[in-house]
């Protein structure tokens, strides 16, 4: 994936061809079947040599926009980022290292949040700071209760 091949040819066609080959009718369905996988892991499964994570994300966003499920996608991205940075769940002791691990996940999440949802993401971050989740909290999908309370669906 480092030789630029991922950006040659028809990216969209390739992405959907791989998704269908794996028995899914949408990228969203493929990704939701792997709710804690990172973007890189999703991309590696679809095409280790010619698909990269950010393309998967772009595809997911396109589908979410059509289905009016962007909020759900935003939650699912947070799940993936938290799982990467905090595999043991929300830390029980908030020392400097753990504070950075939390911050790293939230920062990365924010980086991938569409502008339409930035304000809500800010609110969610503030809420997480004001009322920290219980130690060990580790959402395993976009339907996690606490996560839903932080950022409920409003589109559907």
């Amino acid at each position: 994936m480092s030789d630029g091949r991922a950006w040659q040819g028809n990216v969209k066609a390739r992405l959907y061809e791989r998704v269908r080959e794996r028995g899914y009718d949408s990228l969203t369905a493929f990704a939701e079947a792997r709710p804690t996988a990172s973007l890189v892991e999703l991309a590696e499964e679809l095409g280790p040599d010619d698909i990269v994570g950010v393309q998967v994300f772009s595809g997911l966003l396109a589908e979410a926009e059509r289905r009016k499920q962007v909020t759900r996608l935003v939650r699912s991205v947070l799940v993936r980022m938290l799982f990467q940075s905090l595999p043991e769940g929300w830390p029980s002791v908030m020392d400097d290292a753990n504070r950075f691990n939390v911050a790293k996940a939230l920062g990365a999440w924010f980086g991938y949040t569409p502008e339409t949802h930035e304000a809500r993401a800010e609110q969610a971050m503030a809420a997480l700071r004001a009322t920290p989740p219980p130690p060990g909290w580790r959402p395993l999908g976009p339907d996690d209760e606490l996560l839903l309370s932080l950022m409920p669906d409003e589109e559907a």
Partner: protein
């Protein structure tokens, strides 16, 4: 093989029989050392045995690396990558340490010569001091590059992503390489200065002629030194190929100068004194391996061959470089930190006249030093392969936020200009949100916006400035998302 080089070989074989230990010396056995009988080979190992800063920090770094490795968690799928990166990291620290030992010993020698009232400092109204100063200036840039390489190695040990660790070691490599080649040349220069000092203090030779000779030698050395100090990869690589021949040439000059001094002295009944001084001059550089002894060579049976033995690289019965050194270099070459031409050049210089004159090392030796199909391929793609050289460079840490990064420690060898990547036009457009590949209507993932959002949010949430390793770790993760190769090249001009 010319009869002359045969004689050299014979002499070498004879001389080395008595003094080359076949096993590495005790003590700092894991460190680079040319195991020549006279002890430390100053051009590399110096003579100090006190632990250096780098050495004493070694275990701590190792622990940090191991700690970081454990933090990756179970699974162990990443273990091989971690292990080879760890090995390359340790080899790099060791190599930096060894070259530093060499520059330190040259530094001591230069200080001594600078103060030599009988010789360099006193003769010709201090005319010769400029040649010592020339050496000192070279020492300055070498020490600076070695320090930068050491700092990059430290940064590598603090970053968690193995890809970024290796990328940082790759940034350190060219600096080490330039200093390593430079230190070999500097040791040769140091030998010239010592000869000069000796000749001056005993008034064996015309001061004017010696001054002109030294001027000529310096001019021979200068282009190579300049090229190395520039750190321009193409220049350094070309110079590495040339350095053995240059040292070979300087060896000839050194020999000729000694011979002239000797002939002059014969008439002045100084021959006896001379025998004790100039001929017995202990050389610090590779010259001592290559100079034919002034005394007549006794016949000897020649059983030479240039090969890899259990103790290291051997030439006949003389050890050229130790097995530890070979292993250290192999790791660095295989990890792509040092280039094979540079390492080969170092070995050829150590091997002496024959190898300096005749191009390539034997295949077995090259393979021991890490040559293989992957390394060759790495070199090709690293230069012009696949049109890489023509692809434009891009900062991964956005230039418009230079100040933000500077405030967080990205200065000097860590300047954001050091962290550029080459990308295909389509790839570059894509990561900045261009092109027609996008699927979504809105695009939050434009690289500069995304990475700065991620960093600034992470920082405000952490409640303090991020450290360079935290920044690099974040950048590394997102580079993976974007499929950006973790191979940095410096930005040079516009």
């Amino acid at each position: 093989m010319t009869s002359r080089s045969l004689v050299v070989l014979l002499v070498l074989a004879l001389l080395s029989n008595g003094c080359a230990p076949l096993t590495p010396p005790p003590g700092r056995g894991t460190h680079l050392r040319y195991t020549h009988g006279e002890g430390a080979m100053a051009a590399w190992a110096g003579s100090t045995d006190e632990p250096t800063l780098l050495e004493s920090e070694g275990p701590q770094r190792l622990n940090r690396l191991q700690g970081a490795r454990e933090a990756v968690g179970p699974g162990g799928a990443e273990a091989p990558e971690w292990q080879s990166t760890l090995a390359a990291h340790l080899a790099l620290l060791r190599a930096v340490d060894e070259v530093s030992a060499s520059t330190r010993s040259v530094s001591r020698e230069l200080s001594r010569l600078r103060a030599s009232q009988q010789g360099i400092a006193g003769a010709g109204n201090g005319l010769f001091v400029r040649y010592v100063e020339y050496g000192e200036r070279q020492l300055l840039w070498m020490d600076a590059e070695l320090a930068a390489a050491a700092r990059l190695a430290t940064a590598a040990s603090q970053v968690e992503e193995p890809g970024m660790q290796l990328a940082l070691l790759h940034l350190a490599g060219p600096r080490l390489e330039a200093a390593m080649m430079g230190s070999l040349l500097l040791a040769v220069w140091c030998d010239f200065l010592r000869l000069t000092d000796d000749v001056l203090s005993r008034r064996f030779y015309s001061v004017e002629r010696l001054f002109m000779d030294m001027d000529r030698f310096q001019k021979m050395l200068e282009p190579a030194m300049k090229a190395l100090a520039s750190l321009e990869p193409a220049q350094v690589e070309a110079t590495a190929d040339d350095v053995p021949a240059l040292v070979g040439h300087l060896t000839g000059e050194f020999e000729a100068l000694r011979e002239t001094v000797r002939r002059g002295a014969e008439n002045l009944q100084k021959a006896l004194v001379l025998k004790e001084s100039v001929e017995a001059l202990t050389l610090v550089s590779a010259l001592k391996f290559t100079l034919p002894a002034l005394r007549a060579a006794a016949p000897a049976t020649l059983g030479t061959g240039f090969m890899v033995g259990s103790g290291g690289v051997m030439m006949g019965t003389r050890m050229v470089v130790s097995a530890e050194w070979v292993e250290m270099m192999r790791r660095l070459v295989r990890a792509g930190v040092l280039s094979l031409p540079a390492v080969s050049a170092a070995v050829r210089i150590q091997a002496g006249q024959v190898m300096m004159a005749h191009g390539e090392l034997p295949r077995g030796v090259r393979e021991a030093l890490g040559e293989g199909p992957e390394v060759r391929a790495m070199r090709v793609t690293g230069r012009t392969g696949a049109g890489m050289a023509r692809r434009p460079r891009h900062h991964v840490m956005p230039e418009e936020f230079r100040e933000w990064f500077e405030q967080r420690g990205f200065t000097g060898e860590m300047d954001i200009d050091q962290f550029c990547v080459r990308l295909e036009q389509a790839h570059h457009q894509a990561i900045h949100g261009g092109g027609n590949w996008k699927l979504g209507r809105t695009w939050p993932g434009e690289w500069n916006r995304m990475i700065m959002e991620a960093l600034s949010k992470a920082e405000s949430r952490t409640g303090r400035m991020l450290t360079p390793s935290e920044v690099l770790g974040t950048v590394a993760k997102r580079m993976q998302d974007y499929g950006i190769p973790m191979k940095f090249i410096p930005w040079r001009g516009r």
